[in-house]
Amino acid sequence: MSVNDGDTGVGSRVIERTLHRKRTLLMLLLFAAILVLSACAGTDRLGIDSIADSDLPQNSLDPAGPAARSIDGLWWLVFWIATAVFVMVEAALVFTIFKFRRRDGKDRPVKQVHGSTRLEIAWTIVPVVLMAALAIPTIATLFELRAEPDPSENALQIGVTGHQWWWEFYYPEYGITTANEMHIPAGRAVYLTMTSADVIHSFWVPRLNGKRDLVPGRTTNLTMEADEPGLFFGQCAEFCGIAHADMRQRVFAESESDFAAWAAAQAEPVTPPTEGLAAAGWDTFQISCSSCHAIDGTSAVAKLAPDLTHFASRTTFAGASIARTDGHLREWLRNPVDLKPMRPEFNDLSAGRVLGMPDLDLTEQQIDELIAFLDTLE
């Protein structure tokens, strides 16, 4: 007995050591995997960490407006019903397996049961009842959320056009056109009227509402509202080609007075600079950029690419996929497709088709001038 005990002790120590060695090996492998994969990680040019007030800024389960909140309510209803069914079915499965498994590999006589009509009826009716219970709030919420906002709500109208791969926002009341960053008044409904200039996109700011597709040749609508001022993140949700992942948007919900101030500033036309580096940049802009980009109040009126009227008031560019800093702008102007995948080789300006910004072969001097000019567009 004691010999046996000793043996077991030695044996278990050996096993322990082997296990330990295996665990170390496993940890090393994991570490190596992380190292190798980290080498595949590129630079983060967006810096969401530093501006988001949440660890999960696109969390659909963290609603910040009435539409997202009613969806959230429905979600938790179906979640708990599904979880209850899940627990019961899996428990029944596991219980049955344990209760009726062969022990020591021995077969035993089994009653040859073919079925039971009573049970069949029961487990047909139970799901029907459950589904009916889900159907009623689903249909009610569906019609409620698809309805146009009541005129008394004085909803803010915004036109949204999806482009490969950026968003165009138009405020008809104010005559403002902007790109990728939408400003809205908090506590007031916003009614989006959306279409697409090329392929199908989908507008999605998860904390404010579910998504809605933008379809060429049609208009779709979405009502959303933010309870409180805040910054909300979103991105295109329908695969729209190579830079689908980089087609992002931001919604800035502001107090009515901040929003009014923003709208007034955005409506101001631009007077091009007349001296210094920025003036040279404006010259370059007119030659190299104005066939696609517009700046309100100047001779640049093309609408094929984002409107840059108040570019310097934005936090991002390139489909809200890059933080707007002079460093990033410099990289971008050297060769845009290095930062965001696009297909400028298929651009056809005469047909109005733009699939991204091409490399404009700018000199470093021209880039300095352009950045100086763009920085004036506040």
Partner: protein, 621 residues
């Protein structure tokens, strides 16, 4: 057809491996064609699996730079296309080909040369789709090919490969569906009434009707995409009065029945395995069958739940939300009946059974997350996110793939005559189950936390890092588990235990034959008297309702019939399919590809002409 009346030993020895490449190329034997389908599915599974691993490496860390955005688009498009059309469908076709005639007591399918043609068309379609990687880039517009993205860049040929390739593999399935439906209705053994047919055969019948009615829809759609791209026909061009939403209707009116085409085979397989390893008949057999039929019908009425955010009106959305909810009812009925089957059984936890039970456990999760999609407003948040990726993998991997792997372990001894190793099988099962959940369970959270699918990278700060890394780890565990299967297959091939005709104490007719079955399947066509006929030949029911072995056991060693008619081998189906492959290659590279179209057309005509002129009865001696 050749009239065979050779000595018995000779018939028995004509196993599949003996006739060389030419034998495989010209075979019209449903069993050999089944093996070809299965082998091809495994090869394409490797291709699709590698695509999946590349996707997971890219997404392991934020701002991944392992793949370019361009290659990523190709990877996810081809991963889905490969897994759906070149893995799950042919794997199901493999089992259907091999076992459908055996299960209904037939010697072959109704149209053996058409069967061979289906296989060759499928194989060339798979090669056509896969070689696109090396010929200017693989399809990159998603497996669902939403117009006008799929019709947009007609300067590049990638989506031409997709439109033509899907057409081609669709043709294979369409022809096979005619063949299988005819076989089921016309070639059952005497006494094999419809309600006595094994549930696997019933599910095959439902699947093939689904294919027969849904494939023509996608055929029309794909032709329109191809013409829009190459001739400027404007079907889906909104600026000129076309309609991109029309494509979505066409695609999903095919695409949703297709989902049931992918899952019903596994349901059929599981419905065979559970009774065998519980030693009880399937509980509520007729309810399982009718719920399968109900799923088939209802499957045509739910397609627009893929389009809840597309801009249909609220009435349409409500209608499709309701139909989608209620398709959960027949699905639930099936699950409860499977539980009823194992309840009170004598459960033997052999590998096929483990996979079947794993199928139920995982499919329940996929089914329930499917119910959450039917809550249309909730789906506005979920659709096009990783939540859907999680859902569809719980249905198609946790469901279809686990079920089909169960079928592989279950029928492997019948096909090869050797047992796969049980211990390795169990390692395979547990590692794939853990790896699968590690990969796909986190995706539910990723989706709800706002990660859209089909995005080649994600920035830092959105909270996607941890779960993505975990999913990548899990995907490599799945890959490792598949290596265990391949090792098991290799090991069994080298020194597997001999199976004998009936290793699992089976219930259905395939187990009455030798393993592998003789080329003519049944020495004498069985006369069927019961459902689970073989079981009733082996066992009788005692007064207390338990089964008692009949002594002596039935004699399965029968003299073959005097005149067994077997289909002659034919070279023409493969030739016609090869010709069509050349036509497709030519169509990708219009206009100078027209030369290849002409050459391919001649080869196809030669194949079809030779096929139709071939004597039905060839005098061999």
């Amino acid at each position: 057809m050749a009239t065979l009346n050779p000595p018995r030993e000779e018939l028995h020895s004509s196993g599949p491996a003996r006739e060389g490449v030419w034998g495989w190329l010209t075979t019209t034997d449903h069993k050999k064609i089944g093996i070809l389908y299965g082998g091809s599915a495994i090869v394409f599974f490797l291709v699709g699996g590698i695509e999946a691993l590349l996707i997971r490496v890219q997404l392991a860390v934020p701002n991944g730079e392992f793949l370019s955005a361009d290659s990523y688009s190709q990877m996810f498009t081809m991963h889905a296309t490969t897994m759906v059309f070149l893995v799950v469908m042919p794997a199901a076709a493999a089992f259907t080909n091999y076992f459908l005639p055996l299960l209904i007591g037939a010697r072959d399918v109704a149209f053996p040369r058409l069967n061979a043609f289906s296989y060759w068309v499928f194989l060339f379609g798979g090669i056509f789709l896969t070689t696109s990687f090396f010929l200017g880039g693989a399809p990159d517009g998603g497996w669902f090919g939403y117009a006008p993205l799929s019709t947009q860049l007609n300067e590049v040929v990638r989506m031409d490969y997709w439109a033509l390739g899907l057409q081609f593999v669709g043709l294979a399935s369409l022809l096979a569906s005619v063949n299988f439906i005819t076989t089921i209705f016309a070639m059952r053994a005497p006494g094999m009434t419809l309600m006595r047919m094994p549930v696997f055969v019933w599910m095959a019948l439902v699947i093939n009707f689904l294919l027969l009615f849904s494939l023509p829809i996608i055929t029309v759609g794909l032709i329109e995409v191809f013409l829009d791209r190459n001739l400027g026909t404007l079907f889906f061009d909104a600026a000129n009065g076309g309609d991109p939403i029309l494509w979505q209707h066409l695609f999903w009116l095919f695409g949703h029945p297709e989902v049931y085409v992918l899952i019903l085979p596994a349901m059929g397989v599981v419905s065979e395995i559970l009774p065998t390893f519980s030693r009880k008949p399937l509980f509520g057999r007729s309810f399982v069958i009718f719920s399968g039929i109900a799923i088939g019908f209802m499957g045509f009425g739910v397609w627009a739940h893929h389009m809840f955010t597309a801009g249909l009106g609220p009435v349409a959305e409500a209608a499709f939300a309701l139909t989608t909810m209620f398709i959960a009812v027949p699905t639930g009925v099936k699950i409860f009946n499977w539980l009823g089957t194992i309840w009170g059984g004598s459960i033997r936890l052999a590998t096929p059974m483990l996979f079947s039970l794993g199928f139920i456990a995982m499919f329940v999760i996929g089914g329930l997350s499917g119910v959450t999609h039917s809550i249309a407003p909730a789906d506005w948040q979920q659709t096009d996110t990783y939540y859907v990726v999680a859902h569809l993998h719980y249905v198609l991997f946790g469901g279809a793939v686990l079920g089909l792997l169960g079928g592989l372990y279950y029928w492997w001894p019948k096909i090869t005559g050797k047992m796969l190793h049980e211990g390795l099988g169990k390692i395979h099962f547990w590692s794939i189950l853990v790896g699968f959940n590690l990969t796909f369970a986190p995706m539910h959270l990723l989706g709800l936390n706002g990660m859209p699918r089909r995005t080649y990278r994600y920035p830092e700060g959105l909270g996607f890092e941890f779960w993505n890394f975990l999913a990548t780890l899990g995907s490599f565990l799945i890959a490792a588990s598949m290596l265990v299967l391949f090792w098991n297959i290799y090991r069994t091939w080298r020194r597997g235990e001999v199976a004998g005709p009936d290793p699992w104490d089976g219930r259905t007719l395939e187990w009455t034959t030798s393993s592998p079955p003789p080329v003519y399947n049944f020495a004498q066509i069985p006369v069927v008297e019961h459902e689970d006929d073989f079981w009733h030949r082996k066992y009788t029911t005692s007064e207390d309702g338990t089964s008692v072995a009949i002594d002596p056991p039935p004699n399965m060693d029968l003299e073959p019939d005097a005149n067994i008619h077997l289909p002659s081998p034919s070279f023409y189906p493969a030739l016609a399919a090869a010709g069509m492959f050349v036509i497709l290659m030519g169509l990708v590279y219009l206009p100078w590809g027209l030369v290849a179209v002409g050459a391919g057309f001649l080869a196809t005509m030669w194949g079809l002409f030779g096929w139709s002129m071939e004597p039905l009865t060839r005098e061999d001696h």
